[in-house]
Amino acid sequence: MERDEFQDYSLRPDLGGGVGADGLWCELAAAAQHPLEMPDGKALAEWVHGRGPAAEATAWPIARTLYGSVRTLETAPADAMARLSEFLGHLDLPILTAALRTAHRIPDRPARHRVCANRLSVRALLRLFQASWNAADRQPTPPLKQLVPKLARESVRVRADSEDGGRTRAEGLFRDVVAGALDVLPLGSGAAPASPASLAPPRRGSGGRAEVGAERVVQTALETGAIGRTVSAAVEESIDAGRTTQLLDLLRSAPEQNAAAALIRTRVATLAALARLLAEDPVDFETVDVVVAGLGIAAAKALIEATAESTSRVTRRGAFERLVRLGPDIAPLIEPRLLDSRWFVVRNMIALLREARAAADVASVGRFTTHPDARVRREALLLLLGHAETRDHAICEALKDADRHVLRVGLQAARGGLPDAAVPTLTRRLTSGEFPPEFRVLALHLLGRTPSTLALDALLHFVQAGHSLVGRPKLAPKSAEMLAALSSLARRWPRERRAAPLLAAAAKSRDAQVREASRGLAEVGPSQ
């Protein structure tokens, strides 16, 4: 059969439906090139056989006519069906096999087979069953070879013996089995058998006490680690019934390294499910963790959304923590959120980048060191301080900042080393008096560690209060700043020409603290 021929055929609306059972029979006769319009079934079969080597050429027209006429078969009168059954029952097996072999491209064969299974005679159906296996180039298995004919025999026997519903029931069993067997055969295609859909037991809802809840199937699958069509169907059924949460509950207690759990996770661990869970109040974070584990980095989108948009602080915090656990790969998903106009969103996103140790684009974060909101600036600086290449710049920026919290971040970072570039800013702010008093001591100690003469000037500024009448440098009144600066001078500049006289004067002071500071013993307190 050529594909084009099949396609042409498939476009025909309904070959048999419009012409009725007799019309179908005429078409069959015509397909077999019988001279009569209405030969009986056996005669038509014998006619086909009599055509010798040309008989097989009629295979495709016969198959096409048969399969194409399913709707007619469904409603055809009993005598028409008897005639067709007789034809099939008498047709040589090789010719029927050849006809079925040509039919493998016909769509929706299972539905057509079911019609055949319902309406053909037992003999014709058994013939169709045998020819189908031949057409699929497969040998029926021993159970099928033995039991299908046995069921057929039983149908015929009960038909002869029984007046009651036994006949119908026996035939029904045979027809069910054949319909199922026909469904699984890949006629002529050589492909693997299709799923035996018609063999499926009645779906849930029809079995009463034999009904099995989807949850029980899922539980069993999780306990055994089994996967397969039944498990997938149960999972889909649960999802369709809106029982995703129950599935997630089961997953929470599921064993690790379990194939069924992995299968279920791929189905229920969806962004939509995660978004639903995060929208609840309060959020069930144990269940969220199951979904996040299933989604992996794909969960970041919904978690970022919750971090940015949730009105619940608990939800925001929970989402944030899970994002941090996802690690540095979240960076590309966060960066678009840095454009948000709300300060707290930007701050949280920067904090995420920092805590997740994401290799953020430093330049893109660097711009936030001048953000109007100090909380954003502080977060940006904290991030930049974590990178060696931006640390010095971050300290410089922080030490320029008017906000005490930002300044504290810069000073704390500078304890690990004050960049040279930060000295001018720090000295300028210290000496101009605009530096917050609570940080001055720390700042002076930091300046004491640098070799910069700018730093020296600043230290002297806090230690010296002009000169005496005889021209000696005069110590400034004692203060925390004075002691800190004095101590720094003692440590860093003990012999410097301007520092030395001051240190000497301090060493002779009556004040023990001043004397101690002159020996470089003043320390920065813990609060600083």
Binding site: V148, R204, R229
Partner: protein, 235 residues
């Protein structure tokens, strides 16, 4: 007892076990055909006799047990008013209830003496192995998988396997369980003779409500009184 020996079904079930032992997928189509054929045989059963597979040797025990438990289960299912579609599903489930045993070595199934602890543990794996086989098969065999998994669980939560998720045992699991025990006790085994019918009935009745479903026990014992009038279920 019917004279029908169910040899075709017995052979077919042995073939199914062979497929499973060979590591091939559970042949769902064939299982369905066997169950259908047994259901068809039941249509021929009279009020006082049931078809039953007889075994020619111990090697056939597993298949004969599956076939006979299927017959008993389908009849009991009818007794408790399950509809025809459900009875056929019960048949498939009963046929496969011990399919996990097919993975055990023959020597273990046919062993004459008591199991060692290690052997017992191996045998105890058959419900989970069976459920896995069935769930992996290309068919919607949910009931069969559940029955294979649960048929050694008791009402009082004893039995095996241990459940991670607590739930009551399925009705059909309890139904097949009774038929399984009934047939096993009525069959001679290498390690003991068959129990007489009345002793088996007493055994089940004494445990009704504790280990077994009381209504099902009553239905099975009443049913078997009818079919056991001539002691036909002993091999």
């Amino acid at each position: 007892m019917s004279e029908t020996p169910l040899t075709e079904e017995l052979d077919a079930m042995m073939w199914v076990h062979g497929e499973v032992r060979a590591g091939r997928a559970l042949p769902v189509l064939e299982v369905d055909v066997i169950a259908t054929s047994l259901f068809s045989e039941l249509r021929r059963a009279t009020l006082t006799s049931l078809p039953r597979a007889t075994l020619a040797g111990e090697s056939e025990y597993l298949a004969a047990h599956a076939v006979n438990v299927t017959i008993l289960s389908m009849v009991l299912a009818e007794q408790v008013q399950l509809d025809e579609a459900a009875v056929r599903r019960v048949g498939v489930a009963a046929l496969l209830h011990d399919i996990g045993m097919a993975l055990l070595p023959d020597a273990l199934i046919e062993k004459a003496g008591q199991f060692t602890t290690q052997e017992r543990e191996l045998v105890k794996r058959h419900p989970a192995d069976g459920a896995r086989l069935i769930l992996a098969a290309d068919g919607l065999l949910d009931l069969a998988a559940i029955v294979a998994y649960e048929h050694h669980l008791k009402t009082d939560a004893s039995g095996y396997p241990a459940l991670r998720y607590r739930r009551p045992t399925h009705y059909v699991s309890r139904l097949v369980q009774l038929c399984d025990i009934y047939h096993a006790l009525r069959s001679p085994r290498p390690f003991r003779p068959a129990w007489p019918a009345e002793i088996v009935s007493s055994f089940l009745s004494e445990r009704a409500g504790f280990e077994f479903h009381p209504v099902l026990v009553a239905a099975l014992t009443a049913m078997m009184r009818r079919y056991e009038t001539r002691g036909e279920w002993a091999d």
